[in-house]
Amino acid sequence: MSLERLRTDILILGSGGAGLFAALHALKANPDLEVTVATKGLLGKCGCTRMVQGGYNVALNPGDSVERHFMDTIEGGKWLPHQELAWTLVSTAVERVRELENEIGCFFDRNPDGTLHGKAFAGQTFDCTVHKDDLTGIEIINRLMEQVWARPVRRLEEHRAVAFIPAADGALAGVLLIDIRTGAFRFVAAQAVLLATGGGPTMYRYHTPSGDKSMDGLAMALRAGLLLRDMEMVQFHPTGLLAGPDTRMTGTVLEEGLRGAGGHLLNGAMHRFMGDYDKELERATRDVVSRAIYAEMRAGRTTPNGGVYIKMGHLGPEKVAKQFKGMVERCRDCGFDLAGGLVEVVPTAHYFMGGVVCRPDTSTEWPGLFVAGEDASGMHGANRLGGNGVANSTVFGGIAGDVMPRWISANGGHRAPDERVLDAELARALHPFGCKPGNLNELREKLLDTMWGEVGVVRDREGLDRGVAALDAIEAELLVTGLADEGRAFNMTWHDWLNLRSLTEVSRVIALAARKRENSRGAHFRSDFPEPGDLASSRFTVARQTAAGLDITDAPVAFTHVRPGETLLDKVAAE
């Protein structure tokens, strides 16, 4: 078994907004440090930051205020957010957008007078979403990627992180990775490591994130015994494309604006059903629409592929084709007529609010390990505002880049990895090659269906129990399902196996945390506990893997800036 050993000062896992920002900031803070970015795909070309369409929330325009952005974030998060983290997010976002525009080179859209354009986004009380057409993510990540390419950052592209490796004394020594192209293992020793692999709830039948994301980072953190928070909080987007079996585009987002502009949702019987659920009809909030569609699906009133229809034609096909050019073209490329016909949609798992517990400076309880982006938790609470996702990854990625060099100069040094752990992790990653080849696809389907059906948009105790049992069975079966050892170079089926393992492990935490929360907040809805519960005594869930098993508890939210019933806006108005 070949194991190559490398050594670097700062190792960054992931090349989304968080990872790339961290690399740039770290290099700027101390150009003498060697910064390495290891990423599962090609640098900047994988992950979800690139897929951001709507834009970036920031209080920049006159009339907007950081306080207002903060209140929207807290109320959107149903009073569960960690208020220090949320405050750091909204207050640093201002500088971050200026940095993106002035130093990184993002060229955001402007108002006719030349100032930055902010558009409206659902769930916000002001128009504060900065964007570049509806391809904001491409602009952000391309510019970041160019800056990283232009600097002496060591790139480990198509490298999959599989485990944190401690030193014999328990301190963090480095990370074990697989070079996907060759199939060989690399151990990278580092003084500080940033986890920025971007969460990604891809264990649901329908999901939006990019295919490379499979909760690897959270599975690694779980195994390392780190504290995870808000793990029940999976955000669903109400309208994902539904294209039938064996189609990759199934689950990808059809933008929110379609409903906002007056699109209708019809069930299989061509009935416009939203009126049965909410007086706002299709314009109701994401979670309400998602639940309504889910209910129609549960009741069997579905389209041929098992979803509902979105219809835009009554607004005038030409108008739709013009206003939603990108969406219409995307649908057309895949064989659907969005402008004039009916397109099948389903709710789709979009964003993961849960993640590793961290402080506002991105440090975790494990010295030397930092976390940023979708892998971190606490900023969004029970729900993430549209537009707060990229803000989160760029703000905290940058902070991690500022902090890690400082941390290294105070506490740094390379540590020798615990060879026994290293050996065990190697064996773990190679596990499938030791088993008899089996049917991985069936297992994947099982996982997707279990999570969708039992741990999905609407949950209840029995379903969650069934879900947990099913997950146990899936994991047991996965561990005896092997792969033929016919070459490990770019062996995607091996990585499918590893993905499934990460997903199954994190899925179990999601299910258990969902069972723990006996109320309904934001993205988490329990049909057996439909009420949100008392806000003033809000608690968040925390999970930790211990030798004895998964330990799920909860803890009270600290209202350090504002308490339920209060608002910061009065203060602003008074000033």
């Binding site: 795909g41 690139r50 060229f107 192209r181 659907f336 016919e486 170079a489 089926t493």
Partner: protein, 232 residues
């Protein structure tokens, strides 16, 4: 359908895949990997035409496979899918995109700031000619389809290629950028914009409907005048 198997030296192998009503080329490739041959390698990420990872040669043309419906490209129910041309093959359908991005850097495709995060964001009217020109070329997803389609790239290994030059043109029109003359110098050197013969394959096949040919022509013009005026 037949798929390229192996590295630089490989061969096409034939597979039979069920035809579905909604099916992209990426779906077909995925089907082979999942059900027929688990060792098949390919690359994708976003599935919706944003990341530019999934480009392959489909029946002779470079295309983004995640947004190419099979019915649009199959001839008599047949598909031939290979890796992108003009890039080294890693394995099967995956290529090493490093040369593509190295040339992007060589063309000075990275923004050079003239201001800092402490400054206000520059006012730029959306109807100013420079902004319009920059916008026209900005939405590149670096898929390298144009790079694979261009025979000047094939014939002239020094040629920076359409995407890198298209990016350089965006930056030349970006009034905030502080390195126009270095950039013009970079693209005016051997292998730069003047190597392009306006084949226009890049424009024809760019999935984002960009027009690198026009961008390169813009660069040719700008560099020519800069040269005549003795600025570069």
């Amino acid at each position: 359908m037949s798929l390229w198997r192996g590295g630089e030296k490989g061969r096409y192998e034939t597979y039979k895949v069920p035809l579905r009503e909604n099916q992209t080329v990426l779906d077909v490739v995925t089907f082979v990997q999942r059900h027929l041959d688990p060792t098949l390698s390919y690359r994708f990420a976003c599935r919706v035409g944003m990341c530019g990872s999934c480009a392959m040669t489909v029946n002779g043309r470079p295309r983004w496979t995640c947004r190419t419906h099979v019915s649009r490209v199959a001839t008599r129910g047949q598909l031939e899918i290979g890796p992108l041309e003009n890039l080294p093959v890693i394995k099967d359908l995956t290529t090493d995109m490093r040369p593509f991005f190295e040339k992007w850097q060589q063309a000075k495709g990275a923004f050079v700031p003239s201001q800092t995060r402490g400054d206000e964001i520059e006012r730029i009217r959306p109807d100013s000619p420079a902004r319009i020109a920059a916008d026209a070329a900005i939405e590149c997803i670096n898929c390298a389809i144009c790079y694979a389609a261009c025979d000047t790239v094939r014939w002239n290994s020094d040629y920076l290629g359409p995407a890198a030059l298209n990016r350089a043109w965006t930056l030349v029109n970006d009034v905030r950028d502080g390195a126009t003359s270095e950039r013009l110098q970079a693209v005016a050197a051997s292998g730069g914009c003047h190597a392009c013969h306006s084949h226009q394959s890049c424009q024809e096949l760019c999935p984002q409907q960009l027009n690198p040919t026009a961008s390169i022509a813009g660069l040719k013009r700008r560099t020519m005048w800069a040269y005549l005026k003795g600025e570069i």
